[in-house]
């Protein structure tokens, strides 16, 4: 049975549609990520799941039980806030205890749970401190611990890493993943950062303008984006439109584009002539090949080099290990038909 069921959900604020016709099932023990640009409705959805907002239409079930109209204090969810939202007047220990006392968990049980979580998050030596005496990373861990001691049936994260510096972000990211697996928690994680989403998730829900665009595993989302929005938002794919010039039963389909003919081994729906193609910058093989372009910009990134190329007024991006190429050079490259994805055109 699904841990969380969201059916036909929509939410509008004074006529502004923040979420529309949203349906989704989250499995027990799954790490699900909501990914989308800022303003696409991610926080709104989390607030509806945790009970702070009521949906305009639709229902939410948690563990099979309809909780659409249950207030947050009586829902078995725990929310980790982007701002951490630690209680500034309470010590770390009192912060961790807060929810357990509210739920009238016995003193013994409280001690057991808190010492376990404090050990796991390396907070044992910080218990008597006030939040403002902690570093950002420690505050983040207290906020995580405060949610974990509740042993909620679902834990919700709203961009929990956005206030941390890059190095700490990687560290806490690994920590969250490890804890989620150790406790087999059902987690819904909100982010606008595609690399976080790809690294942590079992499944990713891509949102745009309050609607689900695609739900897939990170691998499939990356290799088989369904729309130009997904292809561009995740990994910054090259997009190009073209006309189907030959479609045979066997062998790749040839699409005529302003870059010349491009082969794809992905199927095009019958009766479709105009298509949108996407290919990943790192999949181009430089050297021999039917395609070419002039390097107009080069950015050395360490492990790889990003090249911006131009051909026939079309700009595209190639990522390569070759750091010898320079601006102004003309290079040839090839694309494998498997790496050229045919997209659905956005409505």
């Amino acid at each position: 049975m699904a841990a969380i069921g969201i059916r036909g959900l929509s939410k509008s604020f004074d006529g502004f549609q923040a979420l529309s016709e949203f349906s989704l099932e989250v499995n027990q023990g799954e790490f699900l990520t909501l990914l989308g640009p800022s303003g696409c409705g991610k926080t709104t959805l989390l607030k509806i799941i945790s009970g702070f907002l009521e949906p305009s239409t639709g229902t939410i079930t948690i563990g099979g039980e309809d909780v659409t109209h249950v207030p947050p204090e009586r829902r078995d969810t725990a929310l980790c806030f982007q701002s951490y939202a630690l209680f500034p007047h309470l010590t770390v220990l009192q912060n961790l205890e807060f929810g357990l006392k509210q739920k009238r968990v016995s003193r013994d049980q409280r001690e057991v749970r808190i010492s376990e979580v404090a050990a796991k998050l390396e907070l044992e030596t910080q218990l008597e401190k006030l939040p403002n005496q902690l570093s950002g990373g420690q505050q983040q861990r207290v906020s995580l611990g405060r949610a974990l001691v509740m042993r909620p049936s679902v834990i919700l994260f709203d961009e929990p890493l956005s206030n941390l510096d890059a190095k700490l972000r990687d560290q806490v990211r690994v920590e969250i993943s490890r804890i989620q697996r150790d406790y087999s928690l059902t987690a819904i994680y909100v982010t606008h950062d595609q690399s976080e989403a790809l690294a942590m998730s079992d499944r990713i829900v891509v949102l745009n303008g309050g609607k689900i665009v695609q739900v897939d595993t990170p691998e499939d989302l990356y290799s088989k984006p369904r729309t130009p929005f997904v292809a561009d938002f995740i990994g910054g794919a090259n997009l190009i439109s073209g006309r189907v010039s030959s479609q045979t039963e066997k062998g790749p389909i040839i699409i005529e584009t302003s870059m010349g003919p491009i082969k794809t081994s992905h199927l095009v729906k019958d009766n479709v002539d105009n298509v949108e193609l996407s290919w990943r910058p790192e999949r181009a093989k430089i050297g021999e090949g039917p395609h070419c372009g002039t390097i107009v910009h080069r950015a050395f990134q360490g492990q790889f080099t990003d090249l911006i190329l131009e051909q026939n007024d079309i700009i595209f991006r190639i990522r390569t290990n070759n750091d010898k190429l320079r601006v102004g050079e003309v290079i040839n490259f090839s694309l494998s038909p498997d790496d050229v994805v045919v997209l659905e055109v956005d409505k």
Binding site: P72, E73, A78, S83, A85, F87, G99
Partner: protein, 284 residues
């Protein structure tokens, strides 16, 4: 800091702080000295404890002390108790909330004496309240409501006058608590009462203490409301002081005045301390 750094700072502080210290200091000094027999306006000045022992022996005095503390305490508690829910309600702006907030603070602009006269008009023997209650048939004849023995009229006016002030202080304190913190406590299972006791009250404690103390001191020394609507068989300390003075007994008046200051000081410290203890730990 060196002496050279201190000189300009000291020079800047002198006009303000110096004036305050001289004015307050001299008044307090004269009051204390007078209560011990010095600065006599008539007769000779000499140290004496007789005024203190005389005044303290009087039943009138101990009753006035108890009565003034009663008025001060309940004015402070009731004003704050009424202001808290309003402050929480007005925490987030909603259509009309600014107008409402302004309306609630209107009593700050009306002088206490004016309010007292309006109040008398409402509750007098032929006043609006009596007419209304008879009109709807609840009371069969007019009742005497003026100068009630429990000083409810005084408390009502004190609260009416001071609640907006408490509201002003508490609104600021409550608004500084972030939504995320309140949401977090809710998410962890805290209902409205637990949110108030464990989050809002402890985080707005300094605003509340300030309101309590200032209202307590003001109401403790009440003269206006007491003389207009207070019970006729009681005297407040301020009233007692004035009555001593009008008999020319400046020394006894000074004893009451010094007692009033002492009670204000000790009482507000006690009030601030207990409210902190209750808000931080007691309401769990």
């Amino acid at each position: 800091m060196t002496l050279r750094d201190w000189v300009p700072i000291f020079a800047l502080l002198v006009p303000g702080l110096g004036l305050i210290l001289v004015l307050i200091g001299s008044v307090v000094y004269v009051a204390v000295a007078q209560s011990f027999g010095y600065y006599a306006l008539l007769g000779q000045s000499a140290f004496s404890l007789e005024f203190w022992s005389d005044v303290f022996d009087r039943k009138l005095f101990s009753r006035a002390v108890r009565y003034s503390i009663y008025v001060g305490f309940w004015s402070a508690v009731l004003s704050v108790a009424l202001a808290y829910p309003l402050a929480i309600w007005l925490r987030k702006p909603f259509p009309g909330s600014i107008g409402l907030g302004a309306l609630l603070k209107a009593p700050l602009l009306v002088h206490g004496l004016v309010a007292a006269f309006l109040y008398i008009n409402v509750i007098s023997y032929n006043g609006l309240l009596n007419q209304f209650m008879q009109g709807i048939g609840i009371w069969s004849e007019p009742r005497r409501l003026q100068n009630d023995p429990n000083a409810f009229g005084v408390l009502l006016l004190q609260v009416w006058k001071n609640m907006p002030f408490a509201l002003l202080l508490l609104t600021g304190a409550v608004q500084s608590i972030s939504d995320d913190i309140l949401d977090a406590s809710r998410d962890l299972g805290a209902g409205p009462w637990a949110r108030f006791c464990k989050i809002i009250a402890p985080l707005s404690i300094s605003g509340m203490q300030a309101a309590m103390v200032i209202i307590f001191i003001g109401a403790l020394a009440d003269f206006t409301f007491q003389t207009t609507v207070g019970p006729t068989n009681r005297q407040s300390m301020a009233q007692l002081m004035v009555s001593f003075k009008s008999r020319g007994d400046w020394h006894s008046a000074a004893v009451v005045g010094v007692s009033l200051m002492t009670i204000a000081l000790l009482g507000s410290a006690l009030l601030a301390f207990t409210s902190r203890v209750i808000m931080r730990g007691g309401l769990r």
